[in-house]
């Protein structure tokens, strides 16, 4: 935190904001999910109030039985199970996204709260920072 601009220099210390990360993409095919997870871990290290949301193909990031051998890329799905160790415990999935893909919470590797679109919207409205990818 040494290279801050002057006008970024005041405040910040001890401020806790509500950060929401909206995961919208399948775990593989693009790098968004993997690199997105890195921001989540850093924001947790900054002691922020972190929530993760999984919508659209993003729900596939949490699916059981991922095997990436055939596409020769890293399988990072275990990281989602390690989030608890970083005090990231608020994980939400959108019901319509799950239904559209024939998924239930039994298919997922972590415990999540299922929200309908209206509940999801009000949760988003409560946030200070929403980062979506």
């Amino acid at each position: 935190m040494s290279d801050m601009m002057d006008d970024m220099d005041e405040g910040g210390e001890g401020v806790v904001k509500k950060f929401m990360f909206v995961n919208r993409k399948a775990p593989h095919g693009t790098i968004y999910a993997l690199e997105g997870l890195e921001v989540v871990l850093v924001s947790a290290a900054f002691d922020q109030d972190v929530s993760l949301v999984f919508v659209d193909d993003g729900v596939y990031e949490l699916i059981k039985g991922v095997n990436t051998k055939g596409i020769e890329v890293k399988d990072f799905s275990k990281t989602y199970r390690a989030l608890e160790g970083y005090d990231v415990e608020k994980l939400y999935v959108e019901k319509a996204s799950m239904d559209a893909r024939g998924l239930t919470v039994e298919d997922l590797i972590v415990d999540v709260t299922v929200l309908d679109s209206t509940e999801m919207a009000s949760l988003m409205a409560e946030q200070d920072v929403v980062i979506s990818y």
């Binding site: 935190m1 290279d3 801050m4 601009m5 006008d7 970024m8 405040g11 910040g12 401020v15 904001k17 950060f19 790098i31 968004y32 690199e35 890195e38 921001v39 850093v42 924001s43 290290a45 900054f46 922020q48 200070d128 920072v129 980062i131 979506s132 990818y133």
Partner: protein, 119 residues
């Protein structure tokens, strides 16, 4: 208002960087401040001075550099995303610097708004 910006896509292939630039420039013209732009994912490719777009097209990289020079905008390139894509200090255009993801989170904490541009 203090506005932080995240750019998640590379130049030319995607409009995200153009839109982010126009947004930043106009916000500043309207009296807001843009203390930091954070380049992540393929957005790190906006920082290389090796780009040579055709003369009759806009120069996305130079535009960002000029915004930094004129208004003191802190252009931060994610070190991890940059290393994946071969972005090093040697090829950075003026005004850009390489740092960690903490700079993005810090912008989120300290700015009134964090606006993201990308897919």
């Amino acid at each position: 208002m203090k506005i932080g910006i995240m750019v998640s896509e590379g130049p030319y292939n995607h409009q995200a960087s153009d839109t982010a630039y126009l947004f930043a420039r106009n916000a500043i013209e309207k009296g807001h401040s843009v203390p930091r732009v954070f380049f992540y994912h393929d957005g790190v490719n906006n920082s290389t001075k090796l780009t040579q777009p055709p003369q009759d097209d806009r120069n996305v990289v130079n535009r960002w550099s000029k915004l930094a020079e004129d208004h003191g905008v802190d252009l931060v390139v994610c070190v991890a995303a940059g290393m994946r894509r071969g972005i090093t200090d040697e090829i950075l255009a003026p005004g850009f610097r390489i740092s960690g993801l903490g700079q993005l989170v810090e912008a989120g904490i300290q700015c009134d708004r964090l606006v993201t541009f990308g897919d």
